[in-house]
Subunit: 304 residues, 2 copies
């Protein structure tokens, strides 16, 4: 049986899936990501080879990949994939992989492939996907069409400032949503620089401690949730999707995240009949925890 | 010669145009708007009759109208057109006008018809129109398609808060963009409640005084321009249009508005290489002052 391959290339691991014509995942492979330009190409080729072996050698008809960085989709080139050790000039990742693999390759930003995956998994063709990982960014599929924007900046909601007196963001502005509503911001609020962390991911630790009644954890959780709610509100007052899917590493919190963000949205709406009429809390869901959403989206990318 | 009619129904006047197949304005008529549900229908019928007389009785093939209020486009119904004295239940404006005029009628929100008009006049099929009138709202045409959103709230950017310590907005939230970047906010900042105004529209007065070096006017102008820049940034980080068209009453300022907002965008970008790379100031233009943009957009609405 043949199909198309999708690769979710992350800073530490690369996840590959083989997906059939109906979008079902036939095989799944995971390998550590080798850093650097050649490392990324080798890792991708390795995962594709493993998936080929699993299908008894029947070639995939295309390979799509999602990568954290700036992507020129038309030219198949990547830049600023800093976490992968790929920086400096544009890297012609598509051409290098096509030469190595002998199949059609498509390259896309990691948040965009996850958004396409969320569409495929939900069957909803108009949604906004909010990726809450180390940073904060959104992907938009509007009436079935992925919105990249004129310069690929569509969904860069993490760099919308919401507080003139907020913290300075890595982007250089002050009070960006990402300084509140991201995994990094949550970790820093919970374990201020220099204080010891633990084995439990910070988001899990904060939400567990808050549920157990720790007042500092409640404060940290609620501030974070209010920031995510701000991002949801901004996206809804811009493009008004019926569905907002929360994804990224922090979304492993599942229903607890939906509840906290829903509470924050209801609190915002308490003072505003206008906002209340939009019922934003009802639009929120979380990406399924057991599905490789970004790899699935990537597998749909390169389809002829 | 026949064509289609567009009506821009405002609180004080209704502007009607007859537009030919190529989008050229053949005739233009203006009447005072009679308030209330029946008044709006009578005014619309009067303007259509005047335009019919101007074309020597050749019937228009359709009538489109833009109206400030909540519009259910599918059902052709209007609600909350408070400035027109139309409130309470949904009003079946399309059905009433079709019965009276005997032609196909389409009804749309005023900002959306202006956005369609901006597309028609510019020939740019992917843009965001920012209406700076009494309030602040945007219209989005993305890759040629008007984005209304799931609940008609797409472009309600005026109610995105950007300052937790900002003024209370009419919508009930605090620090909304509309409390800074609207004609009402500009007028209130220039003439605080109770102080005398003048015959010159406040936006014109503020910009003229600022250009003449009045320090308070400079402060009022720059705060307003920074708010418009915030709206532009939020829209660009959401949907990333190549072109942002400023319209609404305040846009009569023309190049002076583009310059002030451009300066504010450049000031925002000074601290952020990321924001600077998006070059938002270069995306701004102003709607042509001599064109009935909303009425032209309305005339395109109802086309078969």
């Amino acid at each position: 049986m043949t199909g198309t391959i999708g690769l979710d290339i992350g800073a530490t691991k690369t996840l590959g899936v083989l997906v059939d014509a109906d979008g079902r995942v036939l095989e799944q492979v995971r390998e550590a990501t080798e850093p650097g330009r050649d490392g990324v190409v080798r890792t991708a080729a390795l995962v594709v080879a493993h998936l080929g072996a699993a299908t008894h050698g029947a070639p995939a008809t295309s390979v799509g990949l999602g990568i954290p960085g700036l992507v020129d989709v038309e030219r198949g080139m990547v830049k600023h994939a800093v976490n992968l050790g790929v920086d400096g000039d544009w890297v012609p990742l598509r051409a290098e992989l096509e030469a190595r693999l002998g199949v059609r390759v498509a390259v896309e930003n990691d948040v965009n492939v996850a958004t396409l995956g969320a569409v495929a998994l939900s069957g909803i063709r108009d949604l906004v996907y909010v990726s809450i990982g180390t940073g904060l960014a959104a992907g938009l599929v509007l009436d079935g069409v992925l919105r990249r924007g004129a310069t690929g900046a569509a969904g860069e909601i993490g760099h919308v400032p919401t507080d003139p007196n907020g913290a300075v963001c890595q982007c250089g502005q002050r009070g960006c949503l990402e300084t509140i509503a991201s995994g990094r911001a949550l970790a820093e609020a919970w374990h201020p620089a220099g204080s010891p962390g633990g084995d439990v991911p910070p988001a899990q630790a904060v939400f567990a401690a808050a549920a157990a009644g720790d007042p500092r954890a409640v404060e940290v959780r609620d501030r974070f949730a209010a920031g995510v709610a701000d991002a949801v509100r901004t996206l809804c007052l811009s493009v008004d999707p019926a569905t907002i899917v929360l994804g990224g590493g922090v979304s492993h919190l599942g229903a607890r995240l939906v509840e906290a963000v829903g509470d924050a949205l209801r609190a915002q709406a308490a003072s505003s009949p206008f906002l209340a009429s939009l019922d934003l809390a009802a639009r929120i869901r979380v990406v399924p925890d057991d599905q490789p959403v970004a790899a699935i989206g990537a597998a749909l990318l390169g389809r002829p």
